[in-house]
Structures are given as C-alpha cells and as structure tokens.
C-alpha cells in the first residue's frame, strides 16, 4: 500500500475481530517494520514479541478484561529498556512510539486493524508486568504496549481531529497559509 494511504487510513480499532488467522510471515513483516524505526543515539531500546499461539493470545489478552481486544487472533507486545543515550538522557519512549507507529501503518497496509493499548496496561494495576511475566520477560524490560492484530469485524469509527490550521503553521506560530 502507498505510504500516504496507510497514514491516512490508520485508525484505533476498539471493536471485535474476525477469527481469520494472521499468517506467520505477516507477523514477521510487522516486527521488521517496528525494528526499522529510528532510536535515540541508535540505542535500539525497543524489543517485540509477536503472539500467534491462539491459546497464549487468549491468556495474555484476558488480563486486559477487554473482550474486543482479546478477540484478535494475534498481537504484538512492545518491550522497552530505559537505556541511557548520553549523560542522563534516555529516549526510550520516543523509540517505542516510533516503532509502534511503523507497526500500525504496516498493519493498515495489510488490511489488519489494531489499537495502541498503553495506558490501560501501564496503570497502577500493572497489567503489562503480569503479561511480561507470562511471556518470560526479565525484570529489566518493561512491557509498555499491547497491539492486537487481526481483521476487523466492525466498521471503523473515526475520531474527530482538529482542523489543520489549528495545529500546523508556516514560518511562525499561528501563521496559516492565508496569512
């Protein structure tokens, strides 16, 4: 799929998924897309686990208590390490966010839906850590996002976004094209 189309068609899907399996080669491509993202000082702080074993997907997804997300036949778990890039600076959040965006765009291009599930699993009840424990993730890596992957069973619901002129300008703050 054309890049521009993927960027414009990507959306956060919170509906049910079809049972249609996600082939291994598609998951491999999604992982490769994620790993190709840039990282601050090339520290490559992000790592990924694809879930394709249907029983395992159900077990891990059940921790979220969100049946729609759990209906996806596959998923990608996003791990990070807070590696220092230089002095006291770490760019681990930027790194995994760029990786996730690559994965979401690639999923869109393949006809899959997904959703960037982060807040729900990194809140005080630490669902992400419980997922990580199920997957044998060591304590020095955090599981920060869960991306269900599958063919959507329902129509997308597009969120409303602010108009272009309220968020993007030319040559100065608030300077619209007409200025």
């Amino acid at each position: 799929m054309d890049l521009q189309t993927a960027i414009q068609e990507r959306f956060s899907y919170r509906g049910k998924y079809l049972n249609t399996p996600v082939p291994h080669k598609d998951l491999r491509l999604l992982l490769e897309a994620g790993l190709a993202a840039p990282s601050g000082c090339n520290k490559q702080t992000t790592s990924l686990i694809a879930l394709e074993d249907s029983l395992l997907v159900k077990q891990v997804a059940a921790l979220m208590e969100k049946p729609n997300f759990a209906s996806a036949p596959a998923a990608i778990c996003v791990l990070t390490q807070r590696i220092i890039a230089y002095r006291d600076r770490t760019y681990y959040v930027q790194d995994y966010a760029a990786a996730i965006e690559n994965i979401l765009l690639t999923a869109t291009a393949m006809g899959y839906a997904s959703c960037w599930v982060e807040g729900h699993i990194t809140d005080a009840d630490r669902i992400g850590r419980r997922m990580a424990d199920m997957l044998g993730v060591p304590q020095d890596r955090e599981l920060v996002a869960y991306l269900p992957i599958g063919v959507p069973a329902e129509k997308p619901v597009n969120v409303q976004k602010k108009p272009f002129d309220e968020r993007a300008w030319f040559n100065g703050y608030g300077k619209t094209e007409e200025n």
Copy 2:
C-alpha cells in the same frame, strides 16, 4: 512510495543538503502526515511549524551550530503541550514521536532526507526554547524537535542494527523462529 520501502529506506541524515527548494505543497503534505498520527485519548498534543522562508530557516537553524542541518532549505519544528489524557497521565512524548515518524517516512517517500534532532535542542542550553521564541511560540508549548527537510547532497550512512533475533521473538521472550 510503497510503505514498506519507506520504512526500510528512512535513515537519519547528518550530511549537507542541496539548495533545491522544497515546494510548499510538499511541506503541506509532510504536516498533514504528522497530524494524522494517533495521540493518547485523542488529545492531539502535537503541533507543527514548517519553515520555508529561506532567511528564517537559516536564522532558526543557526542556533544549533550544526552547519549541515542549517544547509537544509526547509524544516519542520515539532511543538508539544503536556496535556493530561486522564488522571495524571500524559502521552505527549508518544504523540509527537508518532507524528515525527510519519513525517520522516513521508519525507523519505518524497526523496528528501531528514534527521530527528531532539536531544541537541532540548538539553540544558535550551536551544529549542530560543527557536520557539523566534517563531512566536507561547510559553505553554515546547519546541521538542527540529527536522531539517531537503534533498541530500551526500550518500546516506546507514547505522548498524542488531540482528532480528536479538530484538524480536514469537510467543515468548527470547523465542526465535527456530525454537
């Protein structure tokens, strides 16, 4: 350009740029790509300023004291607001990182080079704030990244990345395809 090609060909360019101007319509497309990125709870914390006025680009870029970045004929400045998504949680870093990745991929697809310049302008000397002041950005928005945009004058230098099996697994931590 095909999405997969853009993802694999994107690289961080630190060389000199050609004088070739970047047409306004291309900058508009880059901004639209950035705004199309997802944001936590749809808070749309990211805003963008494209620099296309050649004198202004030089003045703003000069603050970085990096002649190669300053040689780019255009640039995009990335602004953020630390808006709370819910309770005490804000996803502003994730939001602008996803927007930047969309812009970098789109620049690649258009034949431009760029570089995610963040650490250098958000360090203690606060170059980003000085850039923001030049552009009339109010105090409640931070200028967190500078993306030079232009046709590269030099060959890309690809960074070395770890092998796939060291960063991506299937059905459990460290489980490679052969397992």
